[in-house]
């Protein structure tokens, strides 16, 4: 009993910093802004909830948010599941690199994704030039951008598990008389179902709260909840409506996360898994080569083409291909910024490094507490809470920072640390998700073996845990870095005009008319994309399939 109490105390100590962090920089700002909207002149105006939800415009936004998220999820599954199969079961040249390539979009800032699709399907975009086709006035641009963004989620979560399913399970069904399809349906699909469900929920979550993409591609016609919150907050200054919408989103996301947590827990419970290297083989027969070809084509068209167009646009100056737009980034006379746009690179990198540091410390502590076997139910509940920042309106968080952290002792408005703090909030869930499976996979008997050989608890951690976790830690740091670099919703509120980050600068350039601004936006996006892609390719070298759920 005493030992158990001691264990709980250790978990509690590990969790102290993460809890304080989330309380101060997440719960407090969000609560503050909700209160600001609903608590007017000393009175709680809860009637506003009904009023807002009764508004037909708002109801339209809710409806659109839900159905576009569902449609995006369905479309992503439809396109990415064959990809997951190909990555899991086929061996082909360039597979490693391609796996990195399909992951690049996921860490790209939403603003860049929006910009890339604008360059592809928008006015004067590639399709417009070639065939006069424009999709930016239709919902298809948004749906396709969401597929682009979330392809990797499905390939990684579903494909990662698929690669580890023993192919002999299907063979066992085959010799018992099941056709190829029946064997897949009866044996593989039930095994994959929880992973498919988990991936779907993640995609649904990301698209339900989509901001940057819809902000750029949605035009005046289409708005998600998140975009509407931004509009109500920064354009109409209707904090009451914004607060209600934030609450609505909060409830919806909370429900989604609860379901997600349930499916993740069930995911690998009873499956027999094998090493992924042993299950892949070269495609055989015309059907399999055709499938591989189809998947490669879909990747080329949906994932590579938008990025290529973005790069191409950044060089397409009025006077022919050249570095004109890149050169313009170094001048500070545009009137849009107080500094040369190129300075945003330095800002972004500094902020991202600081945010990564914070996210890694907070995330690792939380992951360590969550893996302790004697962790109580309360601690395990914290697991789900850690995911919340991914789903709660970043706009709300950003604005909440501004109004909540403005008085002593927590007057951070003038401090540069405000931006990294907000970005770290989004980074922490990634760190936790990457570290947890690895920490949980450390075989307890290794620690026992080290202890029996004479290692003290501290030495055990240093000699056994650290070497195993180090790679995961690096990967987690890389993810946090890429996500911080691309964070837009919160940063757009709190980054100071003289210190814009890359995504903020891109959005601001796009918000001003003119070829030069557009070209510069493309050039900055290209730079941002390259930085993210390099970070990711370095990660891919480190990564094994067993690490992480992303």
């Amino acid at each position: 009993m005493a030992a158990r109490r001691k264990g709980a105390a250790v978990s509690g100590a590990l969790l102290a910093l993460p809890v304080v962090f989330f309380a101060l920089f997440f719960a407090y700002p969000v609560a503050a802004i909700v209160a600001r909207g609903l608590h007017v002149d000393g009175v709680w105006r809860l009637g506003q909830v009904g009023e807002v939800l009764g508004d037909s415009g708002i109801r339209h936004v809710l409806w659109f948010t839900a159905w576009q998220a569902l449609a995006s999820t369905a479309l992503t599954l439809l396109i990415a599941l064959p990809g997951a199969y190909v990555f899991a079961r086929f061996d082909f040249r360039g597979k490693q690199i391609l796996r990195a390539v399909v992951t690049v979009p996921f860490v790209l800032p939403t603003v860049v994704v929006g910009t890339a699709f604008l360059a592809l399907v928008g006015r004067g975009g590639l399709l417009d030039e070639l065939w006069g086709v424009r999709l930016d006035t239709t919902v298809w641009a948004i749906l396709l951008a969401h597929v682009f963004f979330n392809y990797a989620v499905v390939v990684r979560t579903v494909g990662g598990l698929w690669a580890q399913l023993d192919p002999r399970q299907e063979e066992a069904a085959r010799v018992l008389g099941a056709s190829r399809f029946a064997a897949w349906r009866q044996v593989t699909l039930p095994a994959l179902a929880p992973a498919v469900a988990a991936a779907s929920l993640m995609v649904f979550l990301f698209t339900f709260t989509s901001f940057g993409v819809v902000q750029i591609l949605g035009g005046p016609t289409f708005a998600t909840l998140e975009v509407e919150i931004y509009r109500q907050t920064s354009e109409i200054f209707d904090l009451g409506t914004a607060a209600v919408l934030t609450l609505v989103q909060f409830v919806a996301v909370g429900a989604i996360l609860a379901v997600h947590a349930g499916t993740v827990r069930r995911r690998e419970s009873v499956l027999r898994l094998v090493a992924p290297e042993t299950t892949a083989r070269r495609p055989r027969g015309r059907g399999q080569w055709a499938l591989l070809g189809g998947v490669l084509t879909s990747i080329a068209v949906l994932l590579v083409l938008p990025l290529a167009v973005l790069v191409q646009r950044s060089f397409a100056t009025p006077g022919g291909a050249g570095l004109g737009y890149y050169r313009a980034l170094t001048r500070d006379d545009s009137g849009i910024f107080l500094v040369a746009p190129i300075a945003a690179i330095g800002n972004s990198l500094q902020y991202a490094v600081a945010a990564t540091g914070i996210a890694v410390v907070i995330g690792s502590l939380a992951a360590a507490a969550l893996t302790r076997r004697d962790a109580g139910r309360l601690v395990r509940g914290f697991d789900a809470l850690l995911m919340l920042p991914l789903g709660v309106s970043a706009v709300t968080v950003g604005f909440g920072f501004l109004i909540a952290l403005d008085e002593p002792p927590l007057d951070l408005r003038a401090s540069w640390i405000l931006v990294p703090l907000a970005q770290a909030l989004v980074g922490v869930p990634f760190v936790v998700r990457t570290m947890l499976p690895v920490l949980r996979a450390v075989d307890g008997r290794l620690r026992e073996a080290a202890a029996v050989l004479g290692a003290s608890p501290w030495r055990v951690w240093r000699e056994v845990d650290l070497p195993i976790v180090r790679r995961a830690l690096l990967i987690a740091a890389g993810f946090a870095f890429a996500v911080s670099l691309g964070e837009f919703g919160a940063t757009v509120f709190i980054a100071r005009p003289d210190n814009p980050t890359l995504p903020v600068a891109v959005a601001r350039l796009l918000g001003h008319p003119g070829d030069l601004n557009y070209g510069q936006a493309m050039a900055l996006s290209t730079i941002l994309m390259v930085v993210c892609a390099v970070a990711l390719l370095v990660l891919e070298r480190l990564r094994t399939d067993r690490t992480g759920e992303f």
Binding site: R168, Q169, E171, A172, A173, V175, L176, G177, Q186
Partner: protein, 343 residues
């Protein structure tokens, strides 16, 4: 009933099955024996239709199976690690093949009950697969494979993961069961004891080829070559020159049975044919080690300048390590192996 004709499978350039020909008669139990990597499992997969042949044919009841997909071959395969479906309970696993063959639900239930009784797990239909012990899993896998009444049942290392005493008991049960049901069986194993106890006929494989085929007694008594002899655990194998009824070996002159092939040969001396005599008679050896084997003691002997010898002694007569002994050979326990040379 089953016959393979020049069956060949290559992984890249390496042949895993190299022109294998074999026949299994109706109701016969054939056991393929070989070390890991000798192509045994690939052989079963080729018959099941899970591994396409690069050359040759597989015939079942005279019908060429080329182009017949796995699910239409009506052969059963019990996988090495059973491959029970973890999402289904015991009954669901056993009924799987019946469902695939569209057997009506009520007849499925009857058959599942019947099979679980047959394998000694009556009433286990509702149990979760994960909760079964190794031996129980093996029984469920067997019931599942038998359920659709396959024309040929194939077993891949059927008892591989079980502990020794359980294995010895189950192998007897399996043989009884198969002869009662009249099942035609093709099994593969690396364990000679298992193969000899189970099979009517044993086929020894090496590097994708068949090294020897015969009844367990034939294979045990007359290994075809040095590889088979060593694989069966015989270590007293040497090069020898046979002339008349005497072979010239590194151990000196050794008597051989009448009618032995003459000339340069490989000679196998069974441990039982190595008799210990007093130190001043026969070949002088030092006792290097001795191992208690239950029915006898295996004694490792080191002659002065010749390869080590293994002798089997009665329990009471075994010398101590370090003792000096003499060795004499018994012609009846000496076998001249088929061919000489490395293969």
């Amino acid at each position: 009933m089953l016959s393979l004709d020049q069956a060949t499978v290559r992984f890249g350039a390496r042949p895993v099955l190299d022109g294998v020909g074999l026949d299994v008669a109706e109701h016969e139990i054939v056991c393929v024996l070989g070390p890991s990597g000798s192509g045994k499992s690939t052989l079963l997969r080729a018959v099941a239709g899970l591994q396409p042949l690069d050359a040759g044919r597989v015939l079942l009841d005279g019908r060429d199976l080329a182009g017949v997909p796995a699910h239409k071959r009506e052969v059963g395969l019990m996988f090495q690690d059973h491959q029970l479906f973890p999402q289904r309970d015991v009954g669901g696993n056993v009924a799987f093949g019946l469902r695939m063959h569209h057997v009506p639900k009520d007849r499925q239930d009857v058959r599942v009950r019947e099979l679980l009784e047959l394998v000694g797990l009556p009433g286990a239909a509702g149990r979760a697969v994960a909760a079964l012990s190794g031996g129980e899993q093996q029984r469920v896998a067997l019931a599942r494979a038998l359920a659709p009444r396959p024309r040929l049942l194939m077993l891949d290392e059927p008892l591989g993961q079980l502990d020794r005493s359980l294995r010895e008991r189950l192998v007897v049960e399996l043989r009884e069961l198969f002869s009662r049901l009249g099942t035609t069986v093709l099994a593969v194993t690396h364990d000679q004891g298992e193969a000899f106890a189970l099979a009517d006929r044993v086929i020894v494989m090496r590097d994708g080829r068949i090294a020897q085929s015969g009844t367990p007694l034939e294979v045990w008594q007359r290994p075809a070559d040095e590889f088979v002899a060593r694989f069966l655990g015989f270590d007293n194998v040497v090069e020898a020159t046979v002339s008349g009824q005497v072979a010239d070996t590194p151990w000196g002159k050794v008597p051989v049975p009448e009618g032995t092939l003459q000339g340069e040969r490989t000679l196998l001396v069974r441990p039982a044919g190595v008799r210990l005599v007093s130190a001043d008679e026969g070949l002088r050896c030092m006792v290097a080690a001795r191992t208690f084997r239950g029915t006898h003691v295996a004694v490792r002997l080191q002659p002065e300048d010749a390869p080590r010898l293994e002798a089997a002694c009665a329990l009471r007569e075994a010398p101590e390590p370090g003792d000096e002994v003499g060795v004499a050979f018994d012609a009846a326990e000496i076998v001249v192996l088929g061919r000489r040379g490395p293969s």
